[in-house]
């Protein structure tokens, strides 16, 4: 081994830790061990500091033959997009362990087992450069997430967990079909090689639809979002955090990694539809969030709105749009994760997620309300916080592309302010019902909010480093996309899809023979 296999270690270290877990006795020991694993995983991510910000291609690549008969490779690599997502995932593991310290009191071992498997699978999704490997990690994450909701969830956990599983799996089966189709069209499962090839327009269209279906469910985009509020409300805090911060990002990641490079012409062709659905998500999520009384549901619907900004940014096909989309992905992970942790925190005190049961915290839990205020401001995209950067970039991109699109998205931002401020106002200054007896944040809670709060302010005030990390990759993605979608944009006219051909063929003899409709 000449070089330390950073990525493999990052993926499989939590799995290895899972093998040790059954031999640890006592709940407390399990928690300490898992926290240690989380921190160690963070340390293991340190070699990523060698990531070269100026390189646009894949770094830290690892490649080995896996099933040579079918051209499968164990191929990992990291570019600017995956770097940010992996860092986010790895950061969340110790925080999730901390925020479940007292929240989860039964079957502690299995809980941490699931958390670690989730982390492995999520990191794997962002690093895989082989389609099958990607699919394996993509599906492997379903079972631990299902268990997180179904075992440690709320009263409706059975419904929520099954809905989550069925919805996501239905989407991914079509991804499987698209994968098989790409293998036979491109002759390989390698993502970089598949991304470099060109495919006929008709083929692109339906593979785009198959993949978009899978990713849109995961994101989730407007008509496919119904599993999300159910899953979020029933999941335990750590489950909601992982769901919001990492799982939803995989859908958007899929659009960036697969749809844009592999089906550029179809992406352009379907962009109006995707933009319309994105704007529908933004507005619909915002309006529904406005009417919620359950805090978790409110934040869940706000996620639908925020993810609408992500898909909107992606389908603008401009650098600003893509930058904004990736920024929103990252920031939504930080902010919404923190908001779910805050809800979990107050739930441990009041045993209710109703806004009405948690009024008037400002006076009695000032530190809690302070953090809540910060993350709520960040969530509504207040200037100086992280979300502002992303949403502003997406809006700039949208206005540059088409003022109408930008104009349609703006109410979403205002809705965000409306529902978040309403929530913050009631929590801070409502008539206290039972808050007097509650204690403010303890040290453990400070510890897991502080890093996220620091990130909110740091990225908000100095987004330069983050942008520098993503720019080369996004520029490359966009350049290749423009080159190939331009070629392909001409080709539909040159060789129209078969239906059009049929139609013209039918009409071809028309001028020759007299027909009743023909003007004479």
């Amino acid at each position: 081994m000449s070089e330390w296999p950073v990525l493999t270690v990052l993926i499989f270290f939590p799995v290895a830790a899972c093998l040790v877990l059954p031999f640890i006795r006592g709940d407390r020991a399990v928690r300490v061990f898992s926290l240690g694993v989380g921190l160690l995983e963070l340390l293991l991510a340190l070699p990523l500091l060698r990531f070269d910000l100026s390189v646009s291609g894949y770094q830290f690549q690892e490649k080995a033959a896996w099933v040579p008969q079918w051209g499968l490779h164990y191929h990992l690599g990291m570019d600017g997009i995956s770097l940010l997502m992996v860092l986010l995932t790895v950061l969340l593991l110790p925080l999730c362990v901390l925020c479940s310290w007292t929240y989860i009191s039964r079957r502690v071992k299995e809980f941490h087992f699931s958390l670690m498997l989730m982390t492995s699978a999520c990191v794997g999704v962002f690093l895989a450069l082989d389609f099958v490997l990607f699919y394996i990690f993509w599906e492997a994450m379903l079972v631990p997430m299902f268990l997180l909701i179904a075992v440690w969830g709320g009263p409706e956990r059975r419904y929520a967990s099954l809905k989550f599983f069925l919805y996501t799996l239905a989407g991914s089966t079509l991804l499987l079909v698209a994968m098989v189709a790409f293998y036979l069209a491109g002759g390989t499962f390698s993502i970089p090689e598949l991304s470099a090839a060109s495919y006929p327009f008709g083929f692109q269209c339906w593979t785009f639809l198959a993949m978009a279906f899978a990713f849109a469910i995961k994101v989730p985009m407007f008509p496919f979002h119904t599993w999300l509020p159910a899953a979020h409300v029933e999941a335990p805090t750590a489950g909601s955090v992982l769901l919001a911060s990492v799982l939803l990002k995989m859908g958007a990641y899929g659009f960036m990694r697969f749809c844009l490079p592999m089906t550029p012409a179809a992406s352009v062709y379907f962009a109006p539809l995707m933009i319309a659905v994105s704007i529908a998500s933004i507005l619909y999520g915002g309006f529904v969030a406005l009417g919620q009384r359950d805090m978790k549901k409110l934040i869940a619907y706000s996620s639908v709105a925020h993810m609408g900004f992500v898909t909107l940014g992606i389908f603008l096909f401009t650098l600003r749009g893509l930058e904004g989309a990736l920024m929103v992905m990252l920031n939504h992970g930080i902010t919404t994760g923190a908001l779910f942790m805050l809800v979990g925190c107050i739930y441990e005190r009041s045993h209710s997620r109703e806004i009405g049961d948690n009024l008037g915290l400002g006076k009695y839990l000032p530190a809690y309300m302070g953090f809540f205020g910060l993350f709520a401001l960040s969530s509504l995209g207040f200037p100086g916080t992280n979300s502002f950067v992303g949403e502003a970039l997406v809006l700039i991109g949208a206005f540059a592309q088409n003022p109408w699109v930008g104009g349609a998205a703006v109410p979403g931002v205002m809705l965000g302010a409306a529902y978040m401020l309403r929530l913050g106002q009631k929590l801070a200054w409502g008539e206290p019902t039972q808050a007097k007896a509650w204690k403010d944040l303890n040290v453990r809670e400070w510890v897991y909010f502080a890093p996220l709060a620091a990130l909110v302010i740091y990225i908000g005030l100095a987004p330069g480093l983050t942008l520098r990390a993503m720019d080369p990759t996004l520029t490359r993605v966009l350049d290749e996309f423009r080159k190939r979608s331009a070629v392909a944009a001409v080709s539909p006219d040159a060789t129209p899809p078969s239906t059009v051909q049929l139609a013209t063929a039918d009409m071809a003899p028309a001028p020759a023979g007299p027909t009743p409709n023909q003007p004479r």
Binding site: W66, Q69, W70, A140, L147, T173, L176, V177, L184
Partner: protein, 473 residues
Amino acid sequence: MEFNANLLLPEIFQFTIVLALFLYSVTKSPASGRNFSPLLPLAACAGLVAAGFSLGAGGLMFWGSYKVDGLSQFFKFAVALGFAIAVLNAASQPTLEPEKRADYFLLLSLSALGLMCLASAVELITIYLALELSSYSLYALIPLRGREPRAAEAGIKYILFGAAATALSLFGLAYILAGQHSSYLTALTARPWTWAEAPVGIIGLTLFMAGFFYKLALFPFHFWAPDVYDGASNETAAYAATLPKLGAVVILIRLAAMLKPGLQLTTVLAVLGAASMTFGNLAALTQQDIKRMLGYSSVAHAGYVMVGLVAASAGGLAAAGFYSLVYVLMNLTCFWVICRLSGDGRNLQLNDLNGLYRRAPFLAFVLAVAALALVGLPPTAGFMGKLFLLSAAWNRGYNWLVVVAALNTAISIYYYLNLIRHAYTVDADGDAAAPPPGGVLWGGVLAGLLLLLGALPAPVFRWAEAAGRQLMP
């Protein structure tokens, strides 16, 4: 006659087991005499080793009717593996009277011997004889379940359906002989197989295949499967659900090698496959009895295997072979857990799994792995098998079949997930007794195999591929 005993090592070994059991059952009275149970699993494992050694063998004997090639050796290995697991599984059967034990295992080994012969048979009458050898032993096995009336009913159903399917098969055999003038597969391969050129042959082949569809429990020959699984004892059902399918698949692979995509018969196979997986999955959705559920799931899996057969390329046939091996493994793993849990040999309902994670955490894990493999979720072997099948079918233009198969996976997740849901998320109502700790080790080995084949399918798939290449150069 070219006879080479070395080539027949797995069969001869299996025959020795049969002979030993026969001598034991006629000479010893069950009350006295030593127990053979520790020896039999050992012998079965030795049989597995013998089958492993002869994986590379090749040759033609008995006047060209018996072919030892990559395909036959791959399937003999699979049969030996399944037989070893089934014997281990049935070693302590609660519903079997002690005086019938020797006869039970005699019939079990005889049936496995028939399947091994089936793997090598390349002449229609030899195929028929091998099929009957394996079937008749199984007919007698099904009702052996204490004094359970349902078992007798299942036995009658199995033999009646089986006899009807066999009759169809023989009828078809006569048509093939009349239409194509040969019963050797090598000669038949050279003949045309289109409706226009050989209508009698096509009718005959379809009818002949029906006998194997019955074995495979392919729609519309599936009616026996849930009832027989339900009525037979758990251990017998584990055998009947898995190994006979191997015999059916190997013959169907040999027959499918004669077909080309686009032929009418291939289309019929594809449609039957699609119908089978859809029907099986939909019917399984509502089952409460685990064995009935697995029965319908086997109907669905028969449909998946068809996907590889209609592809009829080296890759497709290899994928079908690999998938049937994986199918045997994952189904036996599932049955393994069921047999361990059902201490008194009764049928398990889904609710009996409640709280399994607490009573038997390891068995719960093994069951979860088996269920996920049956769905075809990564990182289990079931996923790899399905991926190979779908890729092969797509390659030959059966896009619609691939889409149907993928959508069926989404349907099937619900009932397989039910197993995991009951085992992990529902707490037991009363104080369900913990199952005895025995058998956990082998369950772990089986689950480990499923995960290992999912992570590193290449070595095993290489054999299957070599077998496929010999058939379709």
